[in-house]
Symmetry: C2
């Protein structure tokens, strides 16, 4: 199935002045001189420059909510690591917060929501008809500043969590290995789950459209907890809502990254998106065999490979690219870069991709 989006894509004005549009061309399956490369979580954690910005503020949330500083750390990996795209520094949890469920980010523990959604009474408080442009203005402002400071050097990626993953946090209220409270809802009150997913989808569509309006050149949907559902449940409670979102985004390439959803890859590839992200457990050759050339594949070096020596990193990165059978690839890790990775190792990864000769 060939996505119409690849053929009749509308190119917004803002992308016309990009000096490096490699990742956009890769997403659309166009001609490439080499593979583009970036890293999930490249903005933050691993860079001393990030940690120094972070230390000057009261915490993670202040950084997310201060457009100038968010833009600053967004650009750092472009300046320091030389990646082919910037991704706006933010968090998927700004969406549930905008919907009326504020979160705290607790050091060494993760997100915590005081209010959760478990029943109809809780749902009443979940807002979805509000002015997204106003309530999440700090994100759009950060996008504008980042683009201005990037000056067209590389494209800027916007993003949002997938509705299922956002539901997981809204129901569970914190991270979890099994998210059994969230999965429980699918059995005990599927109507409530669908209503909540629908609300999240509506807000997410408006949110991504505003990111694009503000200047995001492409967007990625992160479904971090896709892998805890079997294929049938993921179709009903996951993909159905991702489909609504990707069908609403017309102007820029869309990437869907459903971590762990190996049994649903066929169905993910039927979505009207340009790129499918793979985690490090998925075998690229096998996936390519299965899905053909209809989608660009993003990924998927094991983030732990960056603990190896420089020459080992070079080897494993080359071996990853050797497994590609076409140019429809965006090189990335199969998960966010881990916080204790040496930035010099990341540079080796990036340089190896840039020096690799495309033979298609």
């Amino acid at each position: 199935m060939i996505s119409l989006k690849n053929h009749f894509i509308f190119i917004p004005l803002s992308t016309m002045n990009l000096k490096n549009d490699l990742i956009l061309r890769a997403a659309r399956g166009e001609e490439l001189e080499r593979y583009p490369v970036w890293l999930m979580r490249q903005a933050g954690r691993i860079l001393p420059e990030y940690r120094s910005v972070r230390a000057s503020l009261s915490g993670f949330k202040e950084l997310v909510e201060t457009p100038e500083r968010a833009a600053e750390v967004t650009i750092q990996p472009v300046d320091i690591l030389d990646v082919d795209a910037a991704i706006i520094f933010s968090d998927i949890l700004v969406v549930p917060e905008a919907m009326g469920l504020p979160y705290e980010m607790i050091e060494k523990s993760g997100p915590y929501f005081k209010n959760v959604v478990r029943n109809e009474n809780d749902l009443i408080k979940v807002e979805f008809q509000f002015d997204v442009e106003d309530r999440l203005s700090y994100v759009f402002e950060a996008i504008k500043i980042a683009n201005k400071e990037l000056g067209g050097r590389v494209p800027l990626i916007g993003f949002a969590g997938a509705p299922w993953t956002i539901l997981c946090y809204m129901v569970e209220g914190r991270g979890s290995k099994t998210f059994s409270e969230s999965r429980k809802l699918l059995y005990t009150n599927p109507i409530l789950a669908h209503e909540l997913l629908n609300r999240i989808s509506l807000v997410t569509i408006a949110y991504l459209k505003q990111q694009i309006k503000a200047g995001a050149h492409m967007v990625q949907i992160f479904d971090s907890w896709a892998g805890i559902l079997g294929a049938d449940q993921y179709r009903e409670f996951g993909l159905k809502y991702i489909e609504k979102i990707v069908d609403s985004i017309k102007d820029v390439p869309v990437t869907v990254f459903s971590k762990g959803a190996i049994s649903s890859l066929n169905e993910i590839c039927e979505l009207n998106c340009n790129t499918v992200g793979l985690d490090w457990n998925m075998n690229i050759s096998k996936v390519r065999e299965m899905i053909g050339e209809t989608k660009t594949i993003q990924g998927n070096l094991d983030p732990c490979a960056l603990y190896g020596s420089h020459s080992e990193i070079e080897q494993s990165t080359i071996s990853l690219m050797n497994s590609f059978s076409s140019k429809r690839h965006i090189v990335n890790l199969g998960h966010g870069v881990y916080p204790d990775i040496d930035p010099e190792k990341v540079k080796t990864f990036i340089k190896t991709v840039k020096n690799y000769e495309l033979h298609f």
Copy 2:
């Protein structure tokens, strides 16, 4: 590939007097009048009777280490839930503890190891040449008492963690979502990882043999963290050592449960084991199509299905069994039963399996 074990199995004396040997026959692919059923983590947590035993002791570890009480909670689900097998109440972490890394079980948080293995100096302290029969005598004693009190009503399952999962805890020192410290070792010091895996395997073989000698009628190997490795790494650091173990167990049926290792199922099915456990994300019909009739499949109702109503549980359990295309099945959940499940719901699950008419 047909496992030799199915054809030349040695039946120990202790199994000859079993009143219900359904699960053993299912494991061997023999004739059945109905599917056998049990639940992972059936001994503990969900039963008020368990919680009252647990409350009378200082903590989880005292229960594990007191044979009379461990035997008592082992038998509870047979008495109360009417399952077709008992599984000895214990923990996979008794093995690393016996090897010199004591653990604490911290309430609401999980296991914690004061000492971890990160380098050659740490490895020196990891013991593997000791008298397993003596050091883990409390487990074997519990097996003897449990069997005596069961009086042959149902078989007793013994178990151990797979070497990869045990390594994860020995290196990380606690639970983790990514076990990146453990995976890091595979890149930075694979020789150390192999040496550690080898030691764990040697102890695990001795441990399972002693369990069988003490009276375990079948054994299960739990690889809880299989799913965090890609297929290539799982082959090298996971399956290679499980193979050593299953090849050493001659007298009783062996089950391998590699949670999340969907990409390695083909290879798991080439192991010399009788039964392969599936987690709730794996589709039984697809797996059966892939592996044929060479193995018994164990699983795999979503543990969250037990949050549904009694009639929904009946429906989903029947629908699971309707997806079976042969009698080579042991019905179970696809993960341990969650602590807040109503035991009455578990009874509905078990009754539904027992009332289901086999049509093969």
